[in-house]
Amino acid sequence: MNENQLYNNPVLLIENVISYKEWLRYYIYLLIKNIDLLYRKFFLASFFAGSIIFVNVKIIRASPLRDPYLIACVHDTGNITSLQQSALTVLNGMDTSIASPFWPNVKPGKFYNNVTENIKNPNILYQGGMTNFCGYAAFANFMLLRDPERYAHLMLDLYRTGVASSNSTHLKPSAAVRKAAGTLFGKGPLDINYADQVLFLSLADHFKGYMNVFNLKYDEGDEDNLWASTTLAKFNRMMKQILAVKLYARGSDLLRPMFMSRYRYIKRKLPENDVILYVNSHFLNPSFKRFITLRVPTHYIHLYSIEKRKKGFIITYWDYGLKTQQAVTQKMFDKLIFGIICIKKNKQ
C-alpha cells in the first residue's frame, strides 16, 4: 500500500487520529459559528448537538483502539532535496553502458540504477538477509542523507577505477572482493543491488576491528561471518575517516552506557543530532525465548524519533530498507541499547 494514499484517506483520519478532545473542540466551534441558528431553534439544535457530542465522545472514549502510530506521520514526502539533486547531476553525464574491468560481475546498467535509486530514496538501502552488513548499511544510509554527492563520487570512483578516496581514507578493495561483488545470492534484494554489494564489500575489506582479526581475508560466504562484523570503535572510525564528521559516542561492545536515563539522553540529543544506535536485535525483534540470550550488541539502526508512552516507548528507526515504527517496553529498551552515536546535524 502507498503511504501517501494511507494518510490522505479522510475516513481513516477521522476514525483513527482525531481524539475526543478534538471532537469537542470541533463541535463547540460549530455551535459558536451557528449561534444565530441556535438562537432561533435553540432547543432542537442544542439537543441535536448535545446528542452528537455525547455519542461521539462515548464511542471514541470507549475505544482505546485508535492506532497510536497514526499520531506521528513518518513517511517521506518523496521530494528531492537540493543535496540529492546535486548528487544526481554528478551521475547525469555518465555513460551507463560501459562495464568496469575491475568488477567483472557487476553489470553497469544495474549498478548506476542502484546508485540513482539510493540517492533518490536513501531509506530503501537494504543490507541483505542473513548478512553482517548492518554497520555498513547504517553508515551508507547516513552518508546518503548527509552527503549524497560524496556518495555519488565514491561509488563512481570505486566502479570506474577500482579505488576511491574520501578525506583520509583510500579504499582499495582486494581482488577477491572485486570478484565477489555481483555474485551474492540468497540475500533478498541485495542480490540485484550491485552498487550496495560493491560498497559493503569494499568497506568491510578496508576497515578492520578486533573482531575481524580471526578472519582478515575474504572468502566466499564471509559476508555472513565475523569478517563483515562491525564494532562500535570501527563504526566511529569509518564515520570520521570517510565523512569527516564530529561525532560523540557513548557505550561499548560489551557494556551498556552507564548513565541513568538513556531515553532522556537520546531525547535531548535528537533535535540537534543524527542518532545511530548500536543495539541487541534480540530485544528489538522479540521472538521465541532462547535458553540463553547473549547480552551483546548485534545491529545498527538509525533512530528518527522516540516517544514515551505509558508502559514504554514508540520508536521510529531505519533498518532493512524501510523506516520501522514499533513499540518497546521500558525493560526491553533498557536491555536494547549498547551504543549511542550522535552526529551534529548540518545547519541548513
Binding site: N2, L6, N9, L65, N285, R290, F291
Partner: protein
C-alpha cells in the same frame, strides 16, 4: 571411582551443551506429507491476505497466544506486537485493509500445524524475482552462542524451471519436498 565417573559424565554433558548439541536434525518428509493440505491452506490463505497488504505474522510465545504483525507499506514498516503493548492490533491493521478475523483464521491454522511464523521473501536469479512464502517451524539447534535458526518450508509462488530448481537447491542448500516446495534451516527473518 564413582565420583570420577560422575564428573566425567557431567563434563561430557557440559561439553555437549557448550558445543551447541550439533546433531543432525531435520523436519521430516513425513511431517510434510501428513500435514500437506493444512500447510497448503496456510500458504493459500497467506497469499490472499498478502495481496491486500504485505505483512508478516509471527507468534512470540510457545502457547501461540501472543503474536506480532509486521505490516509494510511502500516506505514504512509498522510492528504491532501484543506481547509488548496491549493495544488492539485489530484496529491498527484495519487501516491497511486487513481484517483481524482473517488473520485469526490464519493464526489458528498455523497453531494447528505448529507454524510459528509466515513471511514472504524473494529469491533473485538472473535478475528475475522469485517470490516465496516462508513458513517457519520450531527452532533448530544452532549452538548456545549462535543466532537462532529455524526449520523452514519454502513455497515458491512462481513455477520454477528444472534448471532454476537445481540452482536453488545447490546454492541455498534446499531440500525438495514437492514440485515448488522446499525445506531448509535458516535464520532469516527480515
Amino acid at each position: 571411582m564413582k565420583i570420577v565417573r560422575n564428573t566425567s559424565v557431567l563434563c561430557g554433558m557440559l561439553c555437549f551443551f557448550m558445543t551447541g548439541c550439533h546433531m543432525q536434525e531435520k523436519l521430516s518428509n513425513k511431517y510434510y506429507l501428513s500435514n500437506e493440505t493444512a500447510l497448503k491452506q496456510i500458504n493459500n490463505e497467506y497469499n490472499k491476505l498478502y495481496q491486500i497488504n504485505p505483512f508478516i505474522l509471527n507468534f512470540t510465545d510457545a502457547q501461540f497466544k501472543k503474536y506480532s504483525v509486521e505490516v509494510s507499506t511502500d516506505s514504512v514498516r509498522y510492528v504491532y506486537n501484543t506481547s509488548i503493548m496491549n493495544f488492539s492490533v485489530a484496529d491498527s491493521i484495519k487501516r491497511f485493509g486487513l481484517s483481524i478475523t482473517d488473520l485469526k483464521k490464519l493464526g489458528e491454522k498455523m497453531f494447528r500445524s505448529k507454524c510459528i511464523c509466515v513471511a514472504r521473501h524473494s529469491f533473485y536469479l538472473d535478475e528475475k524475482e522469485y517470490p516465496a512464502n516462508w513458513l517457519y517451524f520450531k527452532q533448530a539447534r544452532s549452538g548456545m552462542f549462535k543466532e537462532s535458526r529455524y526449520h523452514v518450508l519454502i513455497f515458491f509462488q512462481k513455477g520454477l524451471t528444472e534448471e532454476n530448481r537445481t540452482t536453488f537447491i545447490e546454492k541455498q542448500e534446499l531440500m525438495q519436498l514437492d514440485k515448488d516446495v522446499f525445506y531448509t534451516i535458516s535464520n532469516r527473518f527480515k
